[in-house]
Symmetry: C2
Subunit: 304 residues, 2 copies
């Protein structure tokens, strides 16, 4: 696997995103069903997604990260235990013999400072990719935030992942948006939905940062519609600002500066919330970090 | 309406619970569809539920509380504004001319000490009922907790409802149980489900009281299944203890003793959580308080 074209894939719960990469350049991409979402075997899903890339010529190997290594994935890959550095993580990657040689990234498990266990699958690949892309992260102590369905805040020290904590922010927002009584009490004007969302975000963020507890603040999304003429869009913005505000207030509390990794639209919201806390941030692309991390599994250090 | 048989009903989002009461004694009961759940008009639903009581003889009047007074109810009843006492609340009740005279209890609205609006429909009837049932609550300052889908913590001073705060505890627990990724990661043994739920409740309660923030603690329900062999039942208990612990920690923080109103199984869980916070509690039956409060709308003070 020292050279030539490779396939790198981030295979999470909701979808497989597969990239054809030659010498560090993306030359093709295709999507497939996520782990748990496919109606055939993981191997069939992978092969069909590869076929969707078209005529790509010979491939040296495939590296995958994410829920592909969970119980319902291609093969169950044990969590690697924190604290762990790049060499330890690479050594815990699991080769799978298919038509092409496949390497699956191990997720990480840790025991948090409060004694509770925590786990991740996929974000570790982005973290090690970020350390390769931004070498200043590889020395000293850094706090890295990876917002998403299950947001992670990761403490890295001299290139070693020490521990991390998961926040349910993204999943909770989706649950409240889709299934709760909170957002549908008011009316909405399509014309001002964007402005209302923005104003709601700021109101929710302010509520999070004034010390209000989360359980006692969520209902304001509804009561503001019933009592203050707030719109549906405002309520959604309020919930987003409230949840993100609580996450950064807790996750980044002790830091002066953090690195964010993720989708640019999402990291921009987090940067706004961090700024309101007086914490500076730098954002890295989630895709770039994933590909850099997956590429590390194919570098001379681990290939045969 | 000074005497004779009356119908008293608590008509919430999920159902109508109607009681036939003679001289303070329940002599019949029937259930109907909740507000928003019925497939015919509110008036038809009410009449059919009355018919389900059978041959009940002459009725002096009907008093209803809850979402029946909301926009989708029988008639929209404006919120009465806090601070408010019994006389003010009764004066804001709305008569509706149907086959029988119907009185609908007004919900309450307040501006919380933090400046946010809050609302309730139904719990105010239980609070005023409790003041009638337990006269020691009618003087001095008291904190009353009404756990449920939207849990309320109400500050009453010399019989006047000053303000209150809503906690999303019950709704959030249901959302997490039914729709989240948190509870289905582990296995379960039917034999120990009750014990596991109990142990999980205590673990979640301890986590709430050790100062952990809610967003960063929820995911432990899942990670404990993946890493510590916790069961599905444990995870549900953990979520219940974590949410109730957070609610009482915030809602009852400043009190030495509180009064709980609600379903006995639920108030028992809250009493356990309060006890862990060093706060004593007395529980009153939610049904008894509802009926006492509805009866106040039919007393000589308001009837013609």
């Amino acid at each position: 696997l020292r050279s030539g074209a490779t396939l790198l894939g981030d295979w999470g719960t909701s979808r497989l995103r597969l990239f054809h990469v030659v010498e560090g350049t993306i030359t093709g991409r295709a999507s497939g069903a996520g782990i748990g979402a496919f109606d055939r075997s993981p191997a069939q899903t992978l092969n069909e997604t590869i076929a969707a890339l078209g005529d790509i010529g010979p491939i040296a190997g495939i590296a995958l990260c994410g829920m592909v290594g969970s119980r319902n994935g291609l093969v169950e890959v044990p969590y690697a235990l924190c604290p762990i550095d790049l060499a330890g993580w690479r050594a815990a990657a699991v080769p799978v013999a298919m038509d092409l040689p496949v390497t699956i990234a191990p997720g990480l498990a840790c025991v948090r400072p409060d004694g509770a266990p925590d786990v991740m699958r996929g974000e570790e690949t982005q973290v090690f990719g970020a350390l390769a892309l931004a070498p200043e992260l590889a020395t000293g102590r850094h706090l890295i935030g990876l917002p998403g369905t299950h947001g992670k805040w990761v403490v890295v020290e001299d290139g070693t992942v020490q521990h991390f904590r998961t926040y349910l922010t993204g999943e909770l927002y989706a649950l409240l948006q889709e299934h709760s009584t909170l957002t549908r009490a008011g009316s909405d004007s399509a014309a001002d939905a964007g402005d209302a969302h923005h104003a709601g975000f700021d109101a929710g963020l302010a509520r999070a940062l004034d010390g209000s507890d989360l359980l006692g603040a969520l209902f304001e999304a509804r009561s503001a519609q019933l009592r203050s003429g707030a719109s549906h869009g405002w309520a959604l913005g309020f919930l987003s600002g409230l949840l993100i505000g609580h996450e950064v207030h807790e996750g980044a509390a002790s830091a002066a500066a953090v690195t964010l990794i993720g989708d640019p639209a999402l990291t921009a919201l987090y940067a706004r919330a961090l700024d309101a806390c007086g914490i500076s941030s730098v954002a890295l692309s989630g895709d770039a970090c994933s590909l850099a991390g997956l590429g590390l599994l194919h570098s001379p250090g681990v290939s045969a």
